[in-house]
Symmetry: C2
Subunit: 337 residues, 2 copies
Amino acid sequence: MPERCGQYTITLSSSPTILGYAAVGGKKEGEGPLGKQFDRIFEDTHLGEDTWEKAESALQREALTAAMNKTGLSVSQVQVLFAGDLLNQNTASTFGLREMGIPLLGQFGACSTMGQTMAMAALFVDSGAADLCGAVTSSHFCTAERQFRYPLEYGGQRTPTSQWTATASGAVVVGHGGKGVRVTAVCVGRVQDLGVTDANNMGAAMAPAAADTLSRFFEDTATRPKDYDLIATGDLGLVGSRLCRELIAKKGYTLGENYTDCGLLLFDRASQDVHAGGSGCGCSAAVLCCHILPAMERGELRRVLFAPTGALMSPTSSQQGESIPGICHAVLLECAE
Amino acid sequence: MPERCGQYTITLSSSPTILGYAAVGGKKEGEGPLGKQFDRIFEDTHLGEDTWEKAESALQREALTAAMNKTGLSVSQVQVLFAGDLLNQNTASTFGLREMGIPLLGQFGACSTMGQTMAMAALFVDSGAADLCGAVTSSHFCTAERQFRYPLEYGGQRTPTSQWTATASGAVVVGHGGKGVRVTAVCVGRVQDLGVTDANNMGAAMAPAAADTLSRFFEDTATRPKDYDLIATGDLGLVGSRLCRELIAKKGYTLGENYTDCGLLLFDRASQDVHAGGSGCGCSAAVLCCHILPAMERGELRRVLFAPTGALMSPTSSQQGESIPGICHAVLLECAE
């Protein structure tokens, strides 16, 4: 049963379990440091579809199907699906999942969506609202570039602070029992906006949200950063993760060697020309599902605070002179004893 | 505590209560049949802001603030806020609510968003995940027209099946106790797509989703349409609500005089030039908060099935030849005994 813990955190006492998970990615993600850990890599960024948007929808289908296959359960047994993405009107999710016939609650948290959808799935299972839930999200470099920035054909220059949107999807299936990783607590993010207006520096825009959510979670649970085997924000990249360390230090918490950012893990910054790192809903989702959860299952990590971040802007809001609000949802993952 | 009831429905046994609610609208909504029932009407469609998008954000702030004022509680006591809208990347919600400092979970259900956000708020309260939650959504004629259709200055012709996006916002605050209306059950929608491609006939695109959700709810709860004082879909308008009657009849249920659609209530179709009726997230939200909930508090309606519908398309998906998927989330509202 969900219970309040401190002012902001919710603990899940029945320990809803991740019964299955999977990550799929594109060619560039396959060439990165985590490439061999993906369930499937698609060399064709179109996935055989006639548009990139349809390809992104296919990524979600592939990830969820692969995650379901590991559970030994059928898709029709999933009672509620939580899904979202960066495309206008969440269409990667809607069109990707519409044939499955599962009740769907569309979520929007920009690049924090994997945290949000997994939190919702775990809360539904813990509360008895459902016995089996799915959580899935995606991003695609080509759909994001043309929607948020420039046509790809234009070949716009990228600034050193910019990040590279991952072509990837991650999915988890949450239910009762089993020996998988447990979701034991959730801290819902508050919108934080320190006035950053540079759409090529999302890391800086989102860092205050990460510092806010992490520090509220530490305070509510009376823990310190060193109490976790891994604290992973995403996707702050190089610039944002440094800022996150600074901002959280001002709140009295020191992030040590156990802190990293999903945007720093997905690509090799030295060789892959991604500037400040990876980004997009699919980045933290894929790092969670191809790297963090497997390490937990192998017993290498036992207690992980997964805290993906999102930039809640649109091109219209930026054109109207608005700053970029950030959000960060934290989910505590623990190995079964 | 939430419990499964049948294959799709979730019952809420602690009866989370609507402690406060409010609706605000624009000039045209003020001139309609429900005009005098709004908490506030803004004659200036800009609400003093310099863009329509910022005006829509202001609508959400105004509705939530008015709803909170009726509870006697302060905004800082709200533990989780569920909000969404039609704008790209949910920016009406994010920018409208960012100053409030409340943990936010962005929702996307297009025009079904009031059902989705209210369902989530009630589920969180019923499960113990939160003691006090808010749910809010909005739409604005001018932001929707220019995002989904044509620049307003173009003066595009409207077809007879088209609907008029409401400039309005509705908000509810859900908590424990009190004498207000109870949220007693929720049925999450499945995506339904019968292949309608006409973006000027959203009612037809969404009607199958309404028929699907309503019939699943009747089956799960072993009830018939006549067991409700009111069944209100939204926003199917004239075309869609007729289709909904036909489609649900094929499933063995007859919708009688107690069935209506929020898109038929907000405007006077004979005099207000709205063609097939109202639409937009704000339409069903405002009809709920200025018309249905007050009638329940007066004891004129005791058992209402509120079932708003959404069209989950984007201009990009339509340009790529996709059909328009629909969804409908149903929420059962009952007066305290």
